[in-house]
């Protein structure tokens, strides 16, 4: 029969030395407090260890290998050349300096990085969004504002007159992309929201969101069909 470790657990005999026990409540005890020794309170040993770490980083930063941004983006590592670098690589195969000189150098974000939103366009250049309000509904940060309007387009009668995202409020969760039934909003621009000097500048309007594709070399159209059977599903009606 299996027995659990705590089943045959014996009361511990270690612990602080009990000097006296209360007669009223046996759980209340007077114990002997163990104070650190004078050697320990001087912190000399700890200071020495800390200095060692600092010196190691100092040596690594002076003589170690540096991984360039190109190597970083390609997923490569620099080859150790000097004796010191070879010795360091024995300690750890990736013991190298990863400092990137941002903004002169920029690391490429991974393919599935969720970044700045962009609005997709139909083949005729119209915005794909049909103002269904799914994204502002699902948005946990309430950062999307849409005001719908009616269009003369017989197939898709509704479009956003105003489509704004407050990038300062956005928590970059990607739920808007998940919720969109039209593949109208994406976060695959490969960049992040720009720094701004005024809060109002962080509000991306419809035009700005459409321009994100062009600015970042992305295709603004989608291969997803809209409204059922192909991009021109109401043609000739």
């Amino acid at each position: 029969m299996a027995s659990h470790a705590h089943d045959d657990h014996e009361p511990t005999t270690t612990g602080p030395k009990v000097l006296a026990t209360s007669t009223v409540s046996p759980k209340v005890r007077t114990i002997a407090v163990v104070r650190p020794s004078e050697q320990e309170t001087s912190y000399l040993a700890a200071t020495k260890a800390g200095l060692g770490i600092t010196l190691r980083h100092f040596a690594k930063n002076l003589f170690g290998r540096r991984r360039t941004v190109d190597q970083l983006n390609k997923g490569e590592h620099p080859v150790p050349t000097t004796a010191f670098q070879k010795a360091l690589s024995v300690v750890s195969p990736i013991n190298e300096i990863e400092t990137i000189q941002y903004p002169e150098e920029k690391a490429v974000y991974p393919e599935r990085f969720r970044g700045l939103h962009r609005l997709m366009q139909r083949d005729d250049g119209q915005v794909r969004c049909v103002a269904c309000m799914c994204c502002p509904t699902v948005c946990p940060a309430h950062c999307i504002t849409i005001i719908p309007e009616q269009t003369d387009d017989n197939g898709i009668e509704k479009r956003p007159a105003v489509f704004e995202i407050d990038e300062l409020r956005c928590v970059v969760c990607g739920l808007c992309v998940e919720a969109c039934p039209c593949d109208a909003i994406r976060m695959d621009s490969g960049t992040h929201a720009k720094p701004v000097e005024e809060r109002a500048d962080a509000v991306m309007t419809k035009d700005k969101l459409i321009a994100v594709s062009k600015d970042n070399g992305k295709n603004p159209t989608s291969i997803a069909t809209q409204g059922g059977v192909g991009p021109n599903w109401r043609e000739g009606r």
Partner: protein
């Protein structure tokens, strides 16, 4: 003549079994309604409790024991000892298949459909089928964005041909304006020859439409149903007092829909009543004014008290005008202040519109609270008396509620010449502009209150949105005015006014205030169908 004793009266209730539960319902009830009483919801599209039975959607098929075929539960009248099954394999499969037929040509454009979120088809789909479409043939294309009339747009593709809208026109409005044309999968709703969908009750067709086929031009593409909150209230369009739901969001009312009350309006309301909410955002008085210039409440109330000081010494020279457009609470508060001042009471109301009366819901009296004011101030003078008093100069100060003072031009001119005219108004219109002092008060959607309809029924309104600017509830404006004139009239809540009022107005003695109602998010309320 037979002298036999009368046979015993036939039982007025019938007991039947639905899904193993025993239901006792009045004779003549249909199975669908009987099932509701024991918590069994049977899906349906064409059935509406306020309309005749069409039994054309076949979505409510149930199995009735000893009956070889499935029966539409909306049409099947209950019988004693009847045993109904709604969860058996046969009827469940039948309803699922009917739903699949309904969806064959439905465009499923929920993202741009205004009904999404309150759509009966969506609701039944989630409950019944929830499976991908098996249809790979092209859908039948039908006209979209069809202008049926002044208020309504039709999307024929979304229509599931339940004929509810046809029956609303025929039975509620009494005008045959909608029809079916073609047959089979080309069947569609259209206007009757030479007709438009244009009647005083036309927007009820949008409410009953189980899908997004009929949409209101007024509400279309403004808000999604799930974004709105619903607060119960009472329509202020006329003396009928139709029960409504205010659908509001962002401190703004976006639409009014009827709320079921069999004693007042049934399931319906008129189009004119639905549009009354537009007026809540136009020409509102949002700040107190003195001499036409904005002023703080303190300053405005003090100015009013200063001007009233001299006329109040001669009580008969001050006129206090109640309004049949305002709530019971506001009117009662002002009447009590008038009594404290010993001023003369008058009542103003909008003139009747005889063309409105149709023997259905619409009546000629366009004042929501004429009966209420009559109960509060039975011996108040009418507008003719007010006019006479102003013209002869007997009245030197006028305090009036609302912005409706339909008196003659001469009387209006004389009114403007008076030194002391105080208006307690929601809107900056007509006599309010001419008043020396105007105090902003909350409109009917912005405060708790009650109105009394033509039948003497007192109905509660609930605050749904914030009042604009510095506007306060009418009774509170009265209390502030009372304090400035050292009259002992004060309340802290609308309920206080109600308690005071029901104690003072004999016919209303003991009427309960009722429970407070919080806005209900439509997002979780399911389909209104």
């Amino acid at each position: 003549m037979s002298t036999d004793p009368q046979p015993p009266a036939p039982p007025t209730t019938v007991t039947l079994t639905i899904d193993g539960k025993s239901a006792t319902v009045p004779k003549g009830t249909n199975v669908l309604e009987a099932a509701k009483t024991v918590g069994v919801e049977i899906s349906a599209f064409c059935y509406h409790p306020g309309l005749s039975i069409a039994a054309c959607c076949r979505q409510c098929l149930v199995a009735v024991e000893k009956n070889p075929k499935l029966q539409p539960s909306c049409q099947q009248i209950v019988g004693d000892g009847m045993v109904v099954h709604t969860t058996d394999a046969q009827s469940t499969a039948a309803r699922k298949q009917m739903l699949e037929f309904t969806l064959v040509n439905h465009p499923i454009d929920c993202p741009i459909c205004d009904k999404a979120g309150e759509c009966t088809l969506q609701k039944h789909y989630f409950e019944h089928d929830n499976a991908a479409s098996r249809i790979d043939t092209p859908k039948v294309e039908k006209p979209k964005v069809v202008d049926l009339g002044p208020h309504i747009v039709l999307d024929a593709e979304r229509c599931i041909l339940c004929t509810r809208c046809i029956r609303v026109c025929d039975e509620v409005a009494g005008q045959h304006q909608l029809e079916m044309k073609q047959r089979g999968d080309h069947e569609e709703i259209t206007t009757a020859p030479g007709q438009k969908l244009d009647n005083p009750y036309s927007l009820n067709t949008v409410d009953v439409c189980p899908v997004g086929a009929l949409t209101s031009k007024d509400f279309r593409f403004t808000m999604r149903a799930w974004e709105l909150d619903a607060t119960p209230s009472v329509c202020q369009g006329c003396a009928t007092g139709c029960n409504v739901e205010l659908h509001h969001k962002n401190d703004r009312v976006w639409r009014l829909v009827p709320r079921h009350n069999p004693a007042v309006n049934g399931h319906w309301m008129c189009d004119e009543g639905r549009f009354t909410y537009h007026d809540l955002r136009e020409q509102r008085l949002a700040v107190a004014t003195v001499g036409g210039l904005p002023a703080s409440w303190d300053k405005a109330v003090k100015a009013a008290a200063d001007k009233l000081a001299t006329p109040l010494k001669d009580a008969g020279s001050v006129a206090v005008v109640l309004s049949a457009q305002a709530s019971n609470e506001d009117n009662y508060a002002l009447a009590k202040l008038a009594a404290a001042w010993k001023a003369k009471l008058f009542v103003t109301a909008r003139p009747d519109r005889g063309d409105r009366a149709d023997g259905k819901l619409r009546v000629a009296d366009v004042n929501p609270n004429r009966a209420g004011v009559a109960a509060i101030a039975a011996d108040a003078g009418d507008l003719a008396a007010l006019e006479a008093g102003v013209n002869t100069g007997a009245l030197r100060a006028v305090v009036f509620l609302g912005h409706d003072l339909p008196v003659s031009e001469t009387a209006l001119r004389r009114l403007r010449e008076l030194d002391c005219v105080v208006a307690l108004a929601t809107h900056e219109r007509g006599p309010v502009k001419a008043a020396g002092i105007a105090l902003p008060i909350a409109a009917w959607t912005e405060t708790h209150g009650s109105v009394t309809n033509a039948d003497g029924r007192i109905q509660r309104m609930h605050a749904a949105v914030a009042a604009p600017g510095q506007a306060v509830p009418g009774w509170e404006a009265v209390a502030r005015l009372a304090q400035a004139t050292s009259a002992k009239v004060a309340w802290t809540t609308a309920r206080d006014v109600w308690k005071d009022m029901t104690a003072a107005v004999k016919p209303w003695a003991g009427t309960p205030w009722g429970r407070e109602v919080r806005p209900l998010a439509l997002r979780f309320a399911g389909s209104r169908g």
